[in-house]
């Protein structure tokens, strides 16, 4: 039984169909990659799952119950947390305050413990906006972990990180799954990272799902290669 099942999901913006009849699933304890070229609809899928957008059609089931009747502020109580592509933090709040606010509606482990886990203990009282981009991404991650989620949605966690940091991130994602008993869905452009950590991968292109499978299967899929490299005319 999948922990998260997206069924025939559609979302339009004016004349553009950002997400077009997409179905995909994420099993309990899996790390699943959601990939695709720019504008494929990956972040829109995240925004639909977290109820920031309302779908035009389709169903999202989490833990055997529909998510569509849960308002955005109820998502965290159901056990879903996320990070954002462009890092959404609370300006002048301290690192510790970010983690405390993460525990507002649902509590995971102690704030100090989580800060130690992501390597931010020494920066607890610094204001988040003073930190480097890499550290800010870890603040966002710590805030998401603070609610003790079952499903963690990571939107381009490797974006803006250097080569070494990406390597550390891959190891961290695998460790987090173990240590926090997480299921992880990640949107990512860094192929090496996705192929290294994901158990399975779903591929979107122009709002449609064009392939699903293990990283090995997907890399050799004709439709995927075409989407990334373009058609041979």
């Amino acid at each position: 039984m999948a922990l998260l099942a997206v069924e025939e999901l559609t979302r339009r913006f004016g004349g553009i169909v950002a997400v077009d009849d997409v179905s995909l699933d994420v099993g309990e304890g899996e790390i699943v990659g959601l990939i695709g070229p720019n504008g494929a609809g990956k972040t829109t899928v995240f925004n639909l799952i977290t109820r920031l957008y309302r779908p035009d059609n389709g169903e999202i089931v989490f833990d055997r119950r529909s998510l569509l009747r849960t308002p955005a502020h109820g998502i965290v109580r159901r056990g879903i947390a996320r990070t954002f592509q462009n890092v959404e933090l609370f300006g002048s709040m301290t690192v510790l305050e970010h983690v405390l606010i993460g525990r507002h509606a649902r509590r995971g482990r102690r704030a100090r413990e989580i800060l130690g886990y992501v390597g931010l203990a020494a920066l607890a009282h610094r204001s988040a906006r003073e930190l480097s981009f890499g550290a800010q991404k870890r603040v966002e991650l710590a805030r998401a972990l603070a609610s003790g989620p079952r499903l963690l949605l990571l939107d381009e966690p490797a974006g803006g990180l250097n080569h070494e940091e990406v390597g550390e991130l891959g190891a961290l994602i695998r460790r987090m799954r173990q240590d926090f008993e997480l299921t992880i869905l990640l949107v990512e452009h860094h192929m090496q990272l996705v192929m290294g950590v994901a158990d399975r991968v779903h591929v979107l292109d122009f709002g449609r799902r064009i392939a699903s499978g293990t990283p090995g299967e997907v890399q050799n899929d004709a439709a995927v290669i075409e989407a990334y490299l373009g058609t041979n005319a």
């Binding site: 977290t50 920031l52 308002p71 955005a72 502020h73 109820g74 998502i75 965290v76 109580r77 947390a81 996320r82 954002f84 959404e88 933090l89 609370f90 300006g91 709040m93 305050e97 405390l100 606010i101 993460g102 507002h104 509606a105 649902r106 805030r143 609610s147």
Partner: protein
């Protein structure tokens, strides 16, 4: 001595300035509170405070002591403002800032009209909150009322700071103001936080009004109009986005206006309001972000 300066008078006038500045600071804080969470100036803030003063007057009139009426009025004002926010502001929550500003202007007239309808247009008085006898400190006589006003204003500022800094609710209020979408995903009911912000602002306004009224020989429905102007000036001086700035700006303005009125003969008491307006104009021309505000660049 060639020139004898009256230090006693300077000290007295400074304290009087801090006293009125303190009451302006509370209303300024109310304005900043709502501005920070929604980007809207609530033009009705002064009239809502006036309404609170009239509620307090009615309670005192029905036999309550000043302080009993004081705390009961704060509670009623908070609850009332939350109700007003739910009914009047919530429907335009997603609307452009200008729409909401116009709604608050409408609210100004509705509240003002309601107060004139409920309470006849005669002049009234509120009993003094503090002893009217003077107290002598280091040979200078001050009024208990002024010292009391300063103490209540600053005490309330500290209380509010503690709420925002150290409580779970305060953290949620701040988060909702800074990043509503993200706050929602953390389980914060952003819309209710905005309503609560209105409640807190109205509580501050109520205290501002209830400290202002007893200092006047008598008051009517117009009593908070100058206070709102001074509060605007104080908030602009300190930086409209900065709570600390609003408090410091109002206190500074209180002292400045009072000293100018005392020492510059032709300004006296009549021209104090224009002085405050001149401060608004000067600050906006020279340093638009105010003393404590940060200059922010917006991506368009």
């Amino acid at each position: 001595m060639l020139f004898a300066f009256d230090w006693t008078q300077l000290a007295q006038q400074t304290v009087i300035g801090l006293s009125s500045g303190g009451t302006w600071a509370l209303l300024a804080l109310a304005i900043v509170l709502i501005y920070r969470s929604t980007g809207v100036i609530n033009f009705a803030q002064g009239e809502m405070a006036m309404f609170s003063v009239f509620i307090a007057w009615s309670l005192v009139h029905h036999g309550l002591t000043y302080w009993a009426a004081f705390f009961l009025t704060i509670a009623i004002s908070i609850a009332g403002a939350i109700a007003v926010e739910r009914v009047v502001i919530r429907p335009v929550e997603q609307a452009p800032v200008l729409t909401v500003v116009i709604v608050t202007l409408g609210l100004l007239f509705v509240v003002d009209g309601a107060a004139r309808w409920f309470w006849s247009p005669e002049t009234r008085t509120l009993p003094n909150a503090f002893s009217t006898s003077p107290i002598t400190i280091a040979g200078v006589a001050f009024s208990w009322q002024d010292l009391g006003n300063i103490a209540v204003s600053l005490g309330l500022v500290v209380l509010l700071w503690g709420l925002f800094r150290f409580t779970k609710l305060g953290l949620a209020l701040r988060a909702a103001a800074v990043n509503p979408d993200e706050s929602r995903l953390l389980g914060i009911r952003v819309s209710w936080m905005l309503a609560l912000g209105w409640g807190l602002a109205a509580g501050l306004g109520a205290v501002s009004g209830m400290l202002t009224a007893p200092a006047l020989a008598s008051f009517d429905q117009n009593l908070m109009q100058p206070v709102l102007l001074y509060a605007f000036a104080g908030a602009v001086l300190g930086g409209i986005e900065s709570p600390l700035g609003a408090v410091a700006g109002s206190l500074l303005l209180g002292v400045f206006v009072n000293l100018v009125g005392t020492y510059v003969g032709w300004i006296g008491t009549d021209l104090r309001l224009p002085v405050a307006l001149a401060v608004i104009l000067g600050v906006l021309l020279v340093r638009p972000a105010g003393l404590f505000g940060k200059v922010s660049a917006r991506r368009v």
